[in-house]
Each structure stands twice: as structure tokens, then as C-alpha cells.
Symmetry: D2
Subunit: 261 residues, 4 copies
């Protein structure tokens, strides 16, 4: 019996002279595809349609940068400490955690479940949304992917991504249900809680056929570019070592001064 | 005098309702651009030509994945330890250091210098290459971006990227010089040392007008996608915690066994 | 009303001339304590007894290094890529995830629950262990912190840490229960499944009064030292860029070669 | 000829039943040493004297935490994003870069060079300091490890560490020279520029015989503990996702608003 090899992968293979990804010659992919199409090859082992590529482009551009927020603040502080570009960006990417990138991912997972349920129950998606919101409200649960602390009244980016998906007729059941849920929340509570940018990216990732476990990748791959811009700007335009907080910015509420004896 | 604001940036700005990148409304960028074009907006504050986008696509696809090598091995070991997707990918990105991504970056920096010198000296690029190689050999220095331990006889990916640049007539002085240097090395030493994939990406990044300090970003942005594929594959298809090395794989050459007394 | 300060902390405070941790003057802590005692000040806001310090020392030394395994392999591959010491170590620390460091942490959490139950039920810890193992076996669950793939027959480090805790009479209910569980597993299954090093560290962390949420910190703080040794060794004694796998080490089981058309 | 093993190390070795570090049985180290002594075994392959351990304890305690500054701000922002403890700490550790931890390390390297020169030149260390400061001033260079933006008038921690080293009579030539340099700067410029905490840790690391390349490890190993405290505090006491900056905190100075056409 042959010895088990230490590594196993279905993603790509190489020999001395060439590389193949998903069975395609790497040189053919280089010659014929754009980067966004390539993500379908990498994650779904298939060549996408132009409409699908257009939607994924819109999604990825929508999260490429948002000036200085959590992840870019982290990248800038690290960069200011005299750290190579990739390490500053890696620190920022760590910030795309369960709250944020992961929030969208959790929405993807639930939308896939709910869409499957609606289908099994023969329920229209707007009815399903009403049922979901009712059930969430009874349990006191909230659903991730709605509302944004920096864009309380709605977000032009979200509308633009949805418009692209509509234009190429690729609004599938996951985005439809996600939008119905927002309407159902407003109907039930009288309060507007629009789908946020993480939410729309998550819903469309499911409509495009990506595994929900990959959800946050569609945030951090494009954001890696935004973070690189921040890391370089901090390293080249600022003075080094960021103080971040002075004593005045910090409220201390720990043990009072005391002696060790 | 107004108080200095804690942060300063020229990349993007936002208010309650909208975001702008490089002065463009984020929603317009979402509607009209593809992701690769967006990198010109982010890093060069301009909308690129279709030819430029085609070349950057080829560059980014060429480094998106290479099965299990340094960075993806790191990502897989971290992922196998029960770590979220973004953290596994961040660990792999840390690997795009001075050797590797940084090697290409260093080549960019030198090519920009040499191209400027050639222009100032009125020297054709093939002559300049001969001069450079002579000087490097005298100093016993090597230049980064040539040769590949896994593809000793050349690399179909490199040829494919160059073919795309030729097809759209975007081989600029940096790639020209980089190729002449390889010829000059062969002429001087009798040994073939082809431009490697990091080298071709670096040379073309300079031809496309990107700051050489960003060099490794054109490796780690696409590679973030490849790493995400490896992280997910490891997490979903393997058994958890990678042993990596057994005692038999390790040669110990430290102090011999001894007592503490 | 005063404006809310951006940051709040109970850990430490500073002004222009001094720093206090847990209410103690930093200069007094420097003059009078050792590093291990300091971890009780930092995490429990109290000065420990010498016996407690002795046990925590044993725990931290026991996980400081284990030659080349998952975390140190990651650190070495990253270091070989031309990356600063702290970034190579950070990559290795990312590996102390839910499987491994987190496994011990999960054991801490459960031991605290079970010890509280035993107390409430008036049940001796050996009886509680029998009940726990019975229940786990019925549910087909396993408990983390037992068995080690590289030390299948037991581990001298585990015995040494337990011996130190016994010597200073600090084996508390969490370690007692953890050991009884191992005995109960053997009684029920006939198979020896000794407490592993993560498990003993976790149980003693609970006996010493540390919050179980900190569990993996007692792995990664000392391991940061071991990883620094590996990063420096790789950077100074090896040749740069680690190949890790050749094509022969990889079993590809993805799509077969195909054309894009 | 035997096949080359994939990994080589002089740090430690293991087999099925045991581990050795620097030739010592791991179980003996666990039984007999404290964690700080263990760092001499790991990094210098030797058992230290009690005086040496006392000095290294003082050094490590002095940098264990400093409330919310660069590295802990990074850890807190990452932790607030819903990220495991070790990943939040790893992000903070990335911040111990060339400015900061690396600054001390660079001072170590230079002190070792200068002490060797003084010895070769038969020059007293105070004279050497005068010569060094004169030369630095002529070249317009500054030396790292002096002055602190948050403690402009001196730092009680620095004095406390030096007092410990004096008490056990372990102020060696590196710390002596470092202190003479501060005096020489004041004599030449009339301005007080005291040795900062990174500087004193660096100078004493050299006096204790550690390789200067390890310099920043004596910052990030203890700081890993402080960062763990911040990560846990953020995760358990705050509300999740840190906004960091609002639009009001950011000065945008990039391209003005423009249309894409």
C-alpha cells in the first residue's frame, strides 16, 4: 500500500513546469479571465457568466474601503510601529471577525436554511419573512446584517449593489428574502432597519452559489487592498508610533491606589 | 486655530449617508467598475484603460494560488488548529515577507532606478542590462526576482503574463529591462535564470505606474483568495490539529542530554 | 454631564510620571515581584502565595516549547520568509486556537461547572467523575484535555506538573476531578486516556482562581518564548524561504485536467 | 548517505515519552525552575544565577502593561470584533515593530559594538559616551532608546529597573554606557533625554548575555500577558465592534469630489 502523503488538496496542483487550478491550466486562466471570474474558479470550480461577475465585482468594490474604521485603524497603528506592509494588513484582516464579516456569514447560513424551509413549506418569500420576524421577535433574537452604526439612515452603497444585481437579473431568493425581512421588521416594529453592506454581500454570495462558510472572505479579500492603501499612507505620510490614547481619553475604574504591604 | 484631528487620510471619506473613494462616489464605482479597475482608483486615484486592467488581471491571477507552499502551509496548519477563516488567512499573509513578495518589491525599486539611469545616460535598455549584470557580478551581488526553486526550467505562468502584456501592447521599460537582464545573465554566465513570477509581477506593477512600496500587495491581495480556499478545505476536509513533524523528521543538534545539577 | 471617554479599563492607569497596575505602583511591582507573581496581579488583582507561584511556574515551563510542532512550524515558515521576529511569533500564536489551547480552556469551563454541581449535589469528586464519564459515553461525547497524539503512552511533563502541585499542597478540586475523570474513563472503557499537558494546565488554572476565559493565555504567553527561539534559529541558521511541500508530498483529488472551452 | 531531514533544531527534542530542552529533561526543568530562569535555558542554554533572574524579572514586569497605547489599542479593537483571545493578542504583538521593541533592539546592537570598541580602544565608558554623542551630533543621527512621548520628564519604571540591577550588582558595561550616553547628551545639548523603558530593557538584555536579535522578545513575551488582559476585558465588559473614529475625527485631504465621466 502506498504511504499516505502528508497533504491532500482539491484546489490546485503543480509540477516542475506548470500549475493547474480546478483542472484548468494556470496559463489559460491568466490569458482569458479577469480576477473576479477567477474567484468562481477557485471557490466553485467553474467559469461564471458575465452577469455573475458583474454582481461579484459590485460586492467586492462595495467593501474595499471605508476610510478609518476598526480594521483600518488597526492596520494604521501597526504600520506606524515600523512593520512590513503584509503584517500591517494581516493585523487589519484579523479584525474581520464574528462581529462584522462573520455577521454577514451568519446571515448567509440562516438565509440558506430559511430559503430551503420556504421551498419545503411552499411558502412565498414575503410570507416566510413575516413568519421569521415574528418568531425572532418572540424569542427576543436579532438577525445579523441589518443596520449600521455609521450609516443609521441607509447606505448608498447597499442600494448600488442591489441595483447592479437587479440590472443583470440576478436577485435570487437569498437577497429577496433578506429584503423582505427588512420590510417585515419595519411592518412589525414601525422602525426602519435596512440591510447593511455586510448583509447584502452575504445574501448575494449565497445567490451566486458560494459556500456560506466563505462569507467573510468576500469582505477581507477586497479589504486587503483598502488596508494596503492605509498601511502605506500611514508609513509614508505620518511620523511613526501612534499614541492612540492619552491619559485623558481613558476612564480607569479598577482598584484604587494601594501599597503592596 | 482648529484642533488637529487625530487621523488624516487622502484615501476616502464618509458621512452619515455616503462614502467617496479618491473623490468618486462609492455608489458610482460600484455601478460602473470591476474590482481590478478599482485598484487603480484606490492606489493611483485614476480610472484605468481596459488594456491596463487586462494586464493587472493577468498579474493577479498568476499568483492567486500555488497549491501547498509556504504561505498556504501556514494557513492550513493554523486553520487545522480551530481558528476562524480570517485569522488563518492572516497568518498566511504574514508569510509574504521580504523573501518572496518583498523580493519582487525590491526588484521594482531597482528597476525604477535603473530605468531612470538609462534614460539619463541615453542608454538603450539592452545595453543597460549588460552594464547592470556586469556590475552585479563584480560586486558578487544577486538581483531578486529570477529563478524559482519549484520551477527550475521556467514557468508557464510567467510566459502567459508576458504574452498578455504584449498582446495589449503594454510592455513598458521596466519589464523590458527585466527581460534584458535575464538575457544578459545568460550571456555572461552561460546559465539560464528566467524571470520568476514575483519578478514579472513586480516589473509590470512599475510599468502600470504603481508605487514600488506597494509591490507585495499585488501578491497578497490575490493570494488572500487562494489562502481562503486552503483554510476552508483544511477546516472541512481534514481532522483537526496537524502534527506537521514527527520526531523522525527533525534533526536535533543542540546540547546533549545532561543533568541540572 | 462630562463626555464619555473613548476607552475604559480596570487594568492599569498612567500619568506623565508613573504607571499603576491593579492599584499598585509599577515601580514597587518591579522592585519586589517576579514575573510569574505578576500574572496574579494582572489577572486577579492580588499578590499570590509562594506556593501558587511555584505551581504557575511549573505550568508555564511545561508548555514553553515542544520542538517542531504546529505552532513552531508556522513560526519557522513565516520567519524563513524574511519577516520580523514579532510577526513570526504572532503567526505561531494564532495557532493556539480552539483545538489545543482552546481545548484546555473548554476543559476549565466544564470542570468549574462540574465542581460546582458536585458541591451542590454533595457528591464526592470520584463519584462525580464516574457520573460524568457515564453521561458523556451515553451521549457519545468526548471531553477535551485527554490523550496526546505525540505522547500516546503518557507524558513525563504532566506527571512533573502534578508532582509540583502535590508538593506544595495545591491540588484543588479541579485537578482532582480531572484526574478522577481519567480513572473513570479507564474503568469504563479499559483504555488508558491520561490527562494531557493542555488539560493539566487548564485544571490547575482553575484551581489557582484564574477565569477560564483566559485559559489559552497560559499556553501562548510561555509559548511566545519558545516561538521566539524558533524564529531566531530559522532566521540565523537556515537558508530562507521554506519549500515545505514538493509535488510528491501532495495528493491532488480535485477536478481532472480540462480545457476552458 | 542518509536523507536530509526536513527540519533541524538545537532548541529541544522529543520522543514518545519525553521532551528535552537544551539537553535538560523537561520534567526536571518543571520541578526545579521558575519561568524567568527558564528563558536563560531556552535562549542561552544555561541555568542563571538568582541575581540574573531578579534583573530579568524586573525587566519583564516593567513592560507587561501600559494601559491603552498602541499595542493594547490594536488588541482591544480586534477583540471587540469577535475574535479569539490568541488572535487579538497576536494582532497586538505585531505592533512591537521596528519603532518600539525594535528600537531597543537596535540600541542593544549598537551598545554591543560600542562596548567592544571602547575595550579595544582602552577607553573608559564615560569618555566613549562623549565620543559617541559628538559623532552622532555631527552626523545629525539620533540614537534609539531615549525619551518617551508619554513620560517626557522621566519614568519611575526605568529608575526601578536600574535600582534592581544595582542592588544585585549586575549593572554591566552596556547599561553603564547607555547611562553615560544620556549624560553626554545632556552635557552637549543642555536638554535632558533620559533612557526610556525600551532602552533600559535592551541594555540589560545585553548585560545578561542575550543575543541582541532577541531584543524585542523581552518586550512581547511579557506584553502578551498585558494584551491578554485587555482582550478579555474588551470582550467581557464592552459592547462589541469599536467605531474608533467618527467622520469628525478624520481630516480628509485627498482628491475633491468628482464625477467618473
Amino acid at each position: 500500500m502506498p504511504q499516505k502523503k502528508p497533504w491532500r488538496t482539491a484546489i490546485s496542483r503543480f509540477d516542475d513546469a506548470s500549475v493547474e487550478i480546478a483542472g484548468y491550466k494556470h496559463e489559460d486562466l491568466i490569458s482569458k479571465l479577469d480576477f473576479t471570474s477567477m474567484l468562481f474558479v477557485l471557490f466553485q470550480q467553474r467559469i461564471p457568466s458575465p452577469a455573475e461577475v458583474r454582481v461579484l465585482n459590485a460586492m467586492m468594490i462595495s467593501v474595499i474601503d471605508h476610510s478609518i474604521v476598526a480594521s483600518s485603524a488597526v492596520t494604521r497603528i501597526v504600520s506606524a510601529s515600523g512593520v512590513p506592509l503584509q503584517a500591517s494588513v494581516a493585523a487589519g484582516i484579523l479584525t474581520i471577525g464574528d462581529i462584522h464579516g462573520g455577521a454577514g456569514q451568519e446571515l448567509s447560513r440562516r438565509l440558506e436554511e430559511w430559503v430551503a424551509e420556504a421551498k419545503a413549506e411552499g411558502l412565498a418569500l414575503d410570507k416566510k419573512a413575516t413568519q421569521i420576524v415574528k418568531s425572532l421577535r418572540e424569542k427576543g433574537e436579532r438577525v445579523e446584517g441589518y443596520g449600521h452604526p455609521l450609516h443609521p439612515k441607509g447606505d448608498a452603497r447597499v442600494d448600488a449593489v442591489i441595483a447592479v444585481a437587479r440590472e443583470v437579473d440576478l436577485v435570487g431568493p437569498h437577497l429577496q428574502l433578506a429584503l423582505h425581512i427588512s420590510e417585515a421588521i419595519e411592518a412589525a416594529s414601525g422602525k426602519s432597519l435596512p440591510l447593511n453592506i455586510d448583509g447584502v454581500v452575504a445574501a448575494l454570495a449565497s445567490d451566486l452559489g458560494f459556500n456560506w462558510r466563505l462569507g467573510r472572505a468576500f469582505i477581507f479579500i477586497p479589504r486587503a487592498a483598502g488596508l494596503a492603501a492605509h498601511a502605506m499612507e500611514e508609513a509614508t505620510r505620518e511620523r511613526g508610533w501612534r499614541k492612540v490614547a492619552t491619559a485623558d481619553d481613558i476612564e480607569y475604574d479598577g482598584p484604587a491606589s494601594r501599597s503592596m504591604d
